[in-house]
Amino acid sequence: MIRLMTMLLLVATCFPATAALQVFATVPEWAALAREIGGDKVNVFSVTTALQDPHRIEARPSLLAKARRAQLVVATGAELEVGWLPLVLRDSGNAEIQSGRPGYFEAARYVSMLDVPVVLDRTHGDVHAAGNPHIQLDPRNLFRIGEALAGRMGELDPPNAGAYQAGYKAFAEKWRLAIARWEKEAAPLRGVPVLVHHASFIYLSNWLGLKEIATLEPKPGIEPTSGHLTGLLARQQATPAKMVLRTAYQSDGPSLWIAGKAGIPAVMLPFTVGGTPEAGDLFGLFDDTVRRLMKGLN
């Protein structure tokens, strides 16, 4: 046994260390951001896709193997990955990516969190103590996160620090123009009342001025019930919503049901990179989000 392990260890050390910075992103949006900043200097893998509920990922063996070889873990934080990431980090045997080390980056630390609960009690559903973790849908958040991430990548890979800074600057420049464009295009959405499946879009609503009237989930993390949906439908008379929003990974049943009954469009938004064929990168994500919202409005 020991001889076998020594042999494997020797074999492992004989492999040349790959030059590119190995980035383990918990969700597709941070993988996309790391690619914007790092370009060909980084090897980025997102361990989840836009079709997977980020709250409900399993600590699969393949994730351990990836974490073992990662130099930088880019996570959302705010307990989004609490059900699997701590376990993957601990069992990876990789000291560099443990919480508190430079190889562990939490995006949520760099933005102002919304929906920070006043009362921490599970009778209110699966609430996140640090606030709503779906921060990627306010594009303005990506400045702070991107800048911090570029700094962190430079710290871990000093020879390319300049390239990461330049990568971030170039991204920020384009991003600023894009935000101005999206805000112009989405101006008619300001004040539009909407229903949402889960509180996935609070940052998007905050940015574009959408008015979220209610969630289809009776409590965060609890699947919509027919009683709750009927209640929402009744409220539609007094406070009518213009559309009902869901992400690519949420089941379409509840939003289609209420949309059909209320005669409003059910709009599926990509939520993150890869959620729709058009959302191929961060720019595509917001292009498509704004396009779909505008289509829902008309």
């Binding site: 046994m1 399993e58 393949s62 560099e96 102002s112 559903g125 400045f143 800048e147």
Partner: protein, 474 residues
């Protein structure tokens, strides 16, 4: 901001009676001032962030680059980054705590000493008065209290206490390395051994209300090999998951026995491999070996005249376990639908001597104790599938089968009865989960673990967890 007036009052009070102020008062005032500082620092950081965001949004060039907090955030470990979460107070250092509530209603035949025919009865948690796996009617299973948290940058700790009437069992209490690197993980203390698949799982993580027969035969009612010892694991730096582990320890639990001696009483070694197949499938397979030694391991036997006799085993036990798990979820999103298949197989060999005695002096065949060879080779397996067909509902089937195999007891053949038997059990369950934290389960089993009896068992079970959101292994 209640604490501010309080702090000012404390300050005033302190200044009025300076001589009277004790160390405790001073400490209290200092902590109040610290909290005020922290609170202001946080607000300033939040304001800076808002300012930077506003500037960025209005398109002012280089605005965030000059924001002081941002530079610091990128350059140092994340602890010093700008924080927008709740105030970091002393309470934040408390370990994560969770509590598992588990109980059941069971309807089955009355079998005071439930054993598996043809297999050495393992003690496990042997409760008097029909507790344990033969408990009927309403009862509590283990109530588990879990504490875990980082100890320092190098170690993490976890303790699990199983609370029962009049006793607290230290289920697990261990530390684990965080900072060794190179894929190495070190664990020490009391832990569930990494052998097999189910062995590391606590009852609340099981997909059925009870453990597979195979685990009960291997390790007793507890259905897990627990070890006081040291675990060393190494994860290979390969694209595929390949993990090696080895353990040494006291080996006090069945199939070993406790002995007060220097050195070790058991050792184990295992390898696990696993990977994804496309985005929807993932699997893990493993092979494990456990070596334990026994000194006077005792069990009740029946002699050739049907009288009770006691057998004492001295020798070594080797257990091999092969395990396989496969999980499927459409697009890799297990929330709405998923399927899990799991199967394990074991072979166990006892080698040593068997002493037959008459402890209660009832005049059985071993009135003068007889020592013989003891040499067995026994095996068993189970396979189960659990399908989650909506976010709330799951259904599962399990089949268990054991083979009493070779049981060579040498000259004691003339004194003791050894039964050849193939214990079997088929189980079906359906469970409902309101959320990730609560579940209720209905289970039916046709149990033929004991020769000459078919036991139709019904169990209704609940599992609730409070507190910290635990992360479960694959």
């Amino acid at each position: 901001m209640l604490h501010k007036p309080f702090a000012v009052a404390a300050l005033l009070a302190a200044s009025c009676g300076a001589q009277a102020a004790s160390d405790a008062d001073l400490a209290a005032i200092r902590s109040q001032i610290d909290e005020m500082k922290k609170s202001y620092e946080q607000r300033i950081a939040a304001l800076e962030q808002k300012l930077a965001q506003a500037e960025a949004a209005t398109g002012k060039q280089n605005a965030q680059a000059t924001a002081p907090a941002a530079g610091a955030g990128g350059a140092v470990p994340s602890d010093n980054g700008p924080r927008s979460s709740l105030a970091a107070s002393a309470a934040a250092f408390n370990p994560e705590v969770s509590l598992i509530l588990q109980g059941q209603y069971a309807q089955m035949q009355n079998v005071p000493n439930r054993t598996i025919t043809g297999f050495w009865p393992a003690g496990g948690h042997d409760h008097e008065g029909g507790k344990g796996i033969s408990t009927r009617g309403f009862s509590l299973n283990h109530t588990e209290l879990v504490f875990s948290g980082g100890i320092d940058p190098y170690w993490r700790g976890q303790a699990i206490f199983a609370v029962q009437d009049e006793s607290v069992d230290v289920e697990e209490a261990w530390f684990q390395s965080l900072a060794i690197g190179e894929g190495i993980g070190l664990k020490g203390g009391r832990y569930r051994s990494g052998i097999g698949y189910l062995n590391e799982q606590h009852p609340h993580q099981w997909d059925f209300a009870n453990a597979p027969l195979m685990y009960v035969a291997m390790f007793g009612q507890e259905a897990s090999f627990r070890e006081d010892g040291l675990q060393f694991k190494w994860l290979a730096p390969t694209p595929m998951f390949v993990e090696f582990g080895t353990e040494i320890g006291r080996g006090a639990n069945f199939p070993g026995t406790d002995s007060n001696k220097n050195g070790t009483g058991a050792w184990a070694a295992y390898v696990h491999v696993g990977d994804d197949l496309g985005v929807s499938n993932s699997w893990r397979a493993g092979l494990s070996y456990l070596k334990t030694s026994s000194g006077d391991r005792e069990a009740e036997f029946v002699d050739i005249n049907g009288l009770q006799a006691q057998g004492l085993f001295n020798g070594n036990t080797s257990t091999w376990i092969a395990d396989f798990v496969w999980k499927w979820a459409p697009d890799g999103n297990p929330k709405y639908q998923n399927f899990k298949f799991q199967s394990e197989y074991f072979v166990r060999k006892d080698q040593g001597s068997l002493t037959c005695t008459d402890e209660n002096a009832i005049g059985n065949a071993c009135a003068t104790s007889v020592t013989s060879d003891y040499d067995t080779r026994q095996s068993g397996w189970y396979a189960q599938g659990v399908y989650q067909f909506t976010p709330n509902w799951r259904a599962g089937l399990r089949y268990d089968q054991l083979d009493s195999g070779r049981q060579n007891i040498g000259v004691n053949t003339v004194n003791l009865v050894v039964e050849d038997y193939t214990p079997k059990r088929a189980t079906a369950m359906v469970d409902y989960s309101w959320s990730e934290f609560s579940r209720v389960r209905l289970q039916y089993a046709q149990d033929k673990a004991m020769a000459g009896m078919t036991d139709n068992q019904w169990i209704v079970q609940y599992i609730m967890s409070l507190g910290a959101h635990g992360a479960h292994k694959f």
